[in-house]
């Protein structure tokens, strides 16, 4: 009778022990999973970004199992400290970042967004390059000259970015803006 009880107790212990080990391995796997730095930077400025640029960046990110890093470049007037809060500008950036994240989630691409401040778009970009790591940069060139990065900024980026830079040719389809798409949903 006692033997049966001991065998039963040992089986119970074994079951719980096995469960605990399996459980800890499962957690261990999740936290110890090697994670390469594999990011695609999508810098943008102003109040909109073309769907084509976002889709191109997402396609690349998906193919390479990379994280998309949309980065909003904000300019801070010279009379204000560079690290001051910019809630009005941030509000516009939030809407675009939300829209990009929405598209990315639909395609299973992880997103890690940034908002970088500078005295100019290029200054913000330079600050971003200084402290972030990425393997590719996708930049939409604008046909209208508008609010985005200028041609000179692109040349500067090609020279300075420690990564492959993909500059997208302007296209009529650029008129389909992510922000507008997000608002329509």
């Amino acid at each position: 009778m006692i033997e049966h009880f001991l065998v039963g107790f040992a089986l119970l212990l074994g079951f719980f022990g096995g469960y605990l080990i399996a459980s800890s391995r499962r957690h261990g796997k999740r936290s110890e999973r090697p994670r390469e730095v594999h990011q695609i930077l999508l810098p943008f400025a102003g109040t909109e970004i073309s769907c084509r640029a976002v889709d191109a960046a997402l396609r690349l990110a998906r193919a390479e199992e990379a994280t998309l890093m949309p980065a909003y470049l904000a300019t801070v007037p010279k009379q204000l400290p560079l690290d001051c809060a910019i809630p009005n500008e941030a509000a516009g950036a939030m809407s675009i970042l939300e829209a990009i994240e929405q598209r990315a989630t639909g395609q299973g691409v992880p997103v890690d967004a940034r908002i970088e401040r500078g005295r100019s778009y290029r200054h913000a970009l330079r600050r971003l390059l200084e402290h972030e790591r990425f393997d590719r940069v996708v930049v939409p060139a604008t046909s209208t000259g508008g609010t985005g990065l200028s041609g000179e900024d692109m040349v500067w980026l090609l020279r300075k970015a420690p990564a492959e830079v993909l500059i997208l040719r302007p296209s009529p389809s650029d008129d389909a803006r992510v922000f507008a798409a997000a608002r329509a949903k």
Partner: protein
């Protein structure tokens, strides 16, 4: 010897009644049996103000010769020798004539406070150093006599003497602020309604910020005392709403921050972000990068990122909720619970139980799960 109690009557402009109120409160203290003396009074030939000073002892002023003109200043030595329980000292931003112990009257006041004398004093908002430019821009008038903002911070009490711009202009027209010949000039320059409205807003904000700063300092610094005091401390002291979002150094927290910030914007309130860090765990590699990103985002949005080291997330969050007077707590959707964690109460429920009554807990859904759910 303990430092004296310091009370400042702050106004948006001359004529709102700061000196009047200071004298009124001084008289009340006198009636209550305290030893009250006027250290310095500048009644500006206003009859109502002078009437309030009747019956209050005034410490004799000190005559000083400056640029061949005899001026009268507060006699600090005489005041210290007289040592009343409470001294009424007008215009703390005043610059003393050369030759006196201190350059500024607020420095005289500091010495009186150190001697254990309670002090009531007055100042206008445009004399505060940090607001001087703003006020000059708003009104076109720049004052030369400024005081560091920290002077306001050293006060135990700041009382705002508020008056609507219309009422102040009416007082001016009635000759209660300046003599008749100066009224028109004043109305056309400094005392325009739009100027006064802007100054009033600046004053109200200043006092609100001062109240907030003192509330937070008191709450953190003071240990809990009697049961009654503890009960009082449980009551959220913030007048408006205050949001606290629990974040982790992961990209997914950014969505939570964005949501929380939008809510804070709608409520017109401040946002705090809290990361409860496991004790002893180094912040390095990817975690460090994400903490930097969170800090950056908080700075852009004007939010405050708090990092607390604690092994109990719920206890740490509840403490911060009390300290900051948070009224909303926002958390991200938890990961699916595995193993023994399934037996525990869900995080939002534990937060509800641990935080003071009246604090709402809101869960921000993960983008993925929202879409899966249709």
């Amino acid at each position: 010897m303990s430092r004296g109690h310091y009370k400042i009557f702050l106004g948006m402009a001359a004529g709102v009644g700061k000196t009047y109120r200071m004298l009124q409160e001084g008289r009340a203290e006198l009636t209550a049996g305290r030893d009250v003396a006027i250290g310095y009074l500048e009644p500006h030939k206003r009859q109502e103000t002078s009437d309030q000073a009747i019956g209050l002892e005034a410490v004799p002023r000190r005559g000083v010769s400056y640029r061949e003109v005899e001026v009268e200043e507060m006699d600090l030595a005489a005041l210290l020798a007289r040592a009343p329980d409470l001294a009424l000292i007008d215009e703390l931003a005043h610059s003393n004539a050369p030759g006196l112990v201190h350059e500024k009257r607020y420095e005289d006041i500091a010495e009186a406070l150190d001697a254990g004398i309670d002090v009531y004093s007055t100042v206008n908002v445009q004399h505060l150093e940090s607001l001087n430019d703003q006020v000059a821009e708003l009104t076109g008038v720049r004052v030369r006599e400024t005081v560091p903002d920290s002077v306001l911070g050293t006060a135990d009490e700041v009382v705002l003497i508020d008056l609507t711009p219309e009422a102040l202009v009416a007082r001016l027209r009635a000759g209660k602020i300046y003599p008749g010949e100066n009224i028109d000039a004043a109305l056309n320059n400094f005392f325009r309604i739009e100027n006064l409205a802007a100054l009033r807003e600046v004053s109200l904000r200043q006092v609100a910020e001062d109240v907030e700063a003192k509330r937070l300092t008191l709450h953190v610094a003071e240990p809990l005392g009697t049961r009654e005091e503890r009960v009082v401390s449980e009551v959220p002291k913030a007048v408006g709403e205050r949001l606290l979002a629990l974040v982790r150094p992961t990209p997914s927290s950014q969505r939570l921050v964005r949501r929380a910030w939008r809510s804070a914007q709608r409520l017109g309130t401040d946002l705090d972000l809290l990361w409860v860090k496991t004790p002893g765990k180094p912040v390095e590699g990817e975690v460090e990068r994400q903490v930097t990103a969170l800090r950056q985002l908080a700075s852009v949005l004007g939010a405050t990122l708090l990092i607390e080291e604690h092994d109990d997330l719920v206890a740490a969050a509840a403490r911060v909720v009390r300290e900051r007077g948070s009224t909303y707590l926002m958390v991200g959707e938890s990961l699916p619970r595995r193993g023994f964690a399934r037996l525990r109460e869900p995080l939002p429920q534990r937060l509800m139980n641990a935080t003071p009554a009246g604090v709402d807990v809101r869960i921000v859904a993960h983008r993925g799960s929202r879409e899966e759910g249709g």
